[in-house]
Symmetry: C2
Subunit: 201 residues, 2 copies
Amino acid sequence: MSEDELRHQRKMARRKEVQDAEVAAKTIESKGLLIVHTGPGKGKSTAAFGLILRALGHDWRVGVVQFGKGGWETGERRALERFGDKVSWHTLGEGFTWETQDRARDLAAAARAWDKTLELLADETIKLLVLDELNIALRYEHLPLDEVVATLGRRRPDLHVVVTGRNARPELIASADLVTEMGAVKHHFAAGVKAQAGIEF
Amino acid sequence: MSEDELRHQRKMARRKEVQDAEVAAKTIESKGLLIVHTGPGKGKSTAAFGLILRALGHDWRVGVVQFGKGGWETGERRALERFGDKVSWHTLGEGFTWETQDRARDLAAAARAWDKTLELLADETIKLLVLDELNIALRYEHLPLDEVVATLGRRRPDLHVVVTGRNARPELIASADLVTEMGAVKHHFAAGVKAQAGIEF
């Protein structure tokens, strides 16, 4: 091992000590988190589906509202059928204005999806609620940002909510507990490979 | 809608046209991808578990080798038990040097995990192979980087491989088809909330 490697390992060991001290200082045992997955890279919805899998492993009930078209998630939907009514899945979006150029339709779809969200927020059997592509509906002002942020802020103390989609609004980020930005470092589409089953959908 | 919003929507519509033309120009129908999830943020392993869920929805068999401790993934493991032998899961890491300060043990664990990887790479029933935290083993030179990159490069043409962990080596990124960097924008640990079941494990 080189000098550089040794130095790095010592640094890591010190960082671990600092982290352990930080963990020991934490006082809040548990809290329903508002989690945001945003950024231009892949993995925003996929990481949310990974959280669904984890939650199901703990026997939680999970709600999913898709504000986008959701035509692609055939793989996840079929896999989640194994968990029966542990998953309450609702695809209510129909695509967005830059595809349809029909703002009235977009507004109606977003309103339907938000109504379903309110219903699931009130369902005390649900412990994780995924609002897939809600960020897009907020970006295009299909829903009132203030109302959405305030409503999510008033969620039950033990309910975790995950919001996905590019261009998360700053007001939502300010209100969130955990925000991850997925950055695209390299993408196979640029090399001419088509979207394929099992990876993209 | 404001002028700014209208301008943005027109820009999005144009971008969509460009994307459609790009999709039409793609010529490679399918290819087993080398996917890397790296960066300091959350979601690297979780997005890999989301890909596992998608793959299972397509009736694929999936392999998982954990180069890290993997003590946390109780939720995913239990959920995946529903899929029986569709998932071949192996936790062979024991933690890393900055915790154990025992390099010989780390090297032995990495070698065992790599042997299992070679076995799963040769298993033609597997279509998705997740090498969780392999980046860490490469970062600390627990495995020869050249051999790992070359071996993954020689994978079957229809096998998808996902490598997770911080600090992906540039040589692996160069060889990958799809690289996503998870950036930490905001983290609830900083606000004193402890790691909790269903979200962190």
